[in-house]
């Protein structure tokens, strides 16, 4: 069974059709790329999947559940996590607290619980702290645990964003231009990190990326959008040699 199903997904802003009847499926454990020129509607697709935008038309189902009309926090609870094109960490929270925010769903002892069951509440908090430290250690961020997010280097901030997303225990991770602003060494590290994430956590990953080296290097399947419409889909080889894609990129393909 496929994990995520997009059917005729359409988003119009006034007269502009940002995403035009996109149909796509994502299988569990797949590493999939979403590419296309600027303004092709890639981030809009992410925003519809995560509930930031309500699609004008079309359906989104994830793990058998309908996502259209659900609130962002509910969608996050079903197992979809994301990072952002422009980093959106909580700048004045420590790295630890940033990741802890992701755990809000995981062990859900709510507001009342913290007052009525203090003992199990604090035990839960302790368990979470251990899990966070484990995640931070995995990503080599344990040394920066108590540093404020805004004081971290750009590459570290991107990694904290990924850790924060992983803290929500997703089945599908959406990465919006994870390699943006990274140097070649950082990009290389990022690529192995993304593969590691998929293998270690057994999740599917959908990523938007402009860096063709990164996309072609790690994605098993690629979908290309242009002016909101899906123009190609297939393995990296197939996509690379597709004349439509070459045309869309106006010779920018290699």
């Amino acid at each position: 069974m496929s994990l995520l199903n997009l059917k005729n997904l359409t988003m119009r802003f006034g007269g502009l059709t940002a995403v035009d009847a996109v149909t796509e499926t994502i299988e569990p454990l797949l590493l999939m790329g979403l590419i296309g020129p600027n303004g092709a509607g890639k981030t809009t697709v992410f925003n519809m999947i995560t509930g930031v935008y309500l699609p004008t038309e079309g359906q989104i189902s994830f793990d058998g559940q309908n996502l259209v009309g659900q609130k962002p926090h509910e969608i996050a609870g079903t197992g979809i996590a994301r990072t952002f094109q422009n980093i959106r960490l909580f700048p004045s929270l420590s790295v630890f607290d940033n990741v802890r925010v992701g755990f809000n769903n995981a062990l859900s002892i709510g507001i009342l619980g913290s007052i009525l069951q203090p003992r199990s509440f604090w035990r839960g908090e302790k368990e979470i702290a251990e899990k966070i430290d484990h995640l931070l250690e995995m990503f080599g961020l344990l040394d920066q645990r108590n540093e404020l997010a805004k004081n971290l280097s750009y590459g570290d901030q991107r990694r904290v964003e990924i850790v924060r997303a992983m803290a929500t225990d997703p089945k599908l991770l959406l990465l919006d231009e994870p390699a943006a602003g990274m140097n070649p060494t950082e990009k290389q590290k990022l690529m192995s990190l993304i593969r590691y994430l998929r293998d270690e956590f057994q999740i599917a990953i959908l990523l938007i990326e402009h860096d063709m080296h990164v996309v072609m290097g790690i994605c098993e399947r690629i979908t290309v959008l242009d002016h909101g419409a899906k123009i190609a889909s297939g393995t990296p080889e197939e996509v690379k040699n597709n004349p439509e894609v070459v045309k869309a990129y106006l010779g920018h393909s290699e």
Partner: protein, 303 residues
């Protein structure tokens, strides 16, 4: 010297009340970026909750004492907290996506609604009422002209305990982390699985409950209550929040103490008629010199 010490003690105990109210302004601003002008009136309702409990046959039977005080405090905090949540749900939530000015005007509307509904004869009535004694007032220190009574100590202790509790809640718990995260980026927080509506309700509950506690402390020291009594303390607490840097929680607490002390010092050394004027003078001064407040970050607000 004794005179100064006396004024300082008076100022700090008054300031503790302002600080409690200011925390509500600053917490709500922190998450939603607007000033809840009805906050002072929630404070006023808090005094009436206390009043009705104390004057009921139940309260009469109980009489002044420690147990009574605990009941009155908890009731006022719970009542104000629920009122704050209700106001947000009915008046502000439907306007969440509208321009901030719309919500601001609505807040002023809610404020008038509470003030003037309160004055209706079948609600509270416009005439001032006398707030009954919650606990007996005793002199704790009396040396020369220096006098410290039990109320000043109660106010100070209650306020400090609540502020430390709030700090603990915000810094140590997950709902507190969620609250801080939401105040930095509401959208990103909701995408990370935080139910931001619940966080906002929680913020209103806690902020308003603190105003409820402040209300009882205020009514104990100034036991004349009326439906318009929330305006001035509300405004002063708002100024305290601005002075400390709106959105900054420790700033609101510090601002409250500064405003309270400035007020009693002015009343004691210059003239009692200037006690309100000095507070507004501080507001004008801070807006000219450092509009972001003492601890504010300034210039970071996105529209």
């Amino acid at each position: 010297m004794e005179e100064f010490l006396q004024q300082l003690i008076n100022g700090l105990s008054l300031g503790a009340i302002y600080a409690l109210i200011a925390l509500g302004y600053t917490m709500i601003y922190g998450v939603l970026r607007f000033i809840n002008f009805a906050h002072g009136d929630v404070f006023m309702i808090g005094t009436y909750i206390g009043f009705f409990i104390l004057t009921s046959s139940f309260g009469q039977a109980l009489g002044p004492g420690f147990g009574t005080a605990v009941i009155v405090f908890l009731a006022a905090m719970l009542g104000c907290g629920l009122l704050g949540v209700t106001i947000e749900f009915l008046a502000y939530r439907p306007l969440r996506t509208r321009p901030k000015l719309t919500v601001l005007i609505t807040a002023i509307g809610v404020s008038f609604f509470l003030e003037y509904t309160g004055q209706l004869s079948f609600v509270f009535g416009a005439d001032p009422r006398t707030f009954p004694t919650v606990v007996e007032k005793t002199m704790v220190v009396q040396s020369g002209s220096l006098v410290i009574d039990s109320y000043q100590i109660i106010i100070f202790v209650v306020a400090i305990v609540l502020m430390l509790g709030l700090r603990m809640l915000i810094m140590k718990t997950r709902i507190g982390t969620a609250l801080r995260a939401s105040s930095m980026n509401l959208n990103a927080a909701s995408l990370m699985g935080i139910n931001t509506n619940a966080v906002i309700s929680f913020t209103f509950f806690v902020g308003s409950a603190l105003a409820g506690a402040g209300a009882i402390l205020y009514a104990m020291s100034y036991p004349k209550i009326n439906p318009l009594m929330g305006i001035l303390p509300g405004l002063k607490a708002f100024i305290a929040a601005v002075l400390g840097g709106i959105g900054n929680i420790s700033g609101a607490a510090v601002g409250g103490f500064i405003i309270g002390s400035a007020e009693t010092m002015t009343a004691g050394y210059i003239s009692p008629t200037l006690r309100d004027a000095i507070v507004f003078a501080i507001l004008i001064f801070i807006l000219i010199v450092k509009p972001s407040g003492l601890f504010g970050q300034g210039g970071t607000e996105k529209v």
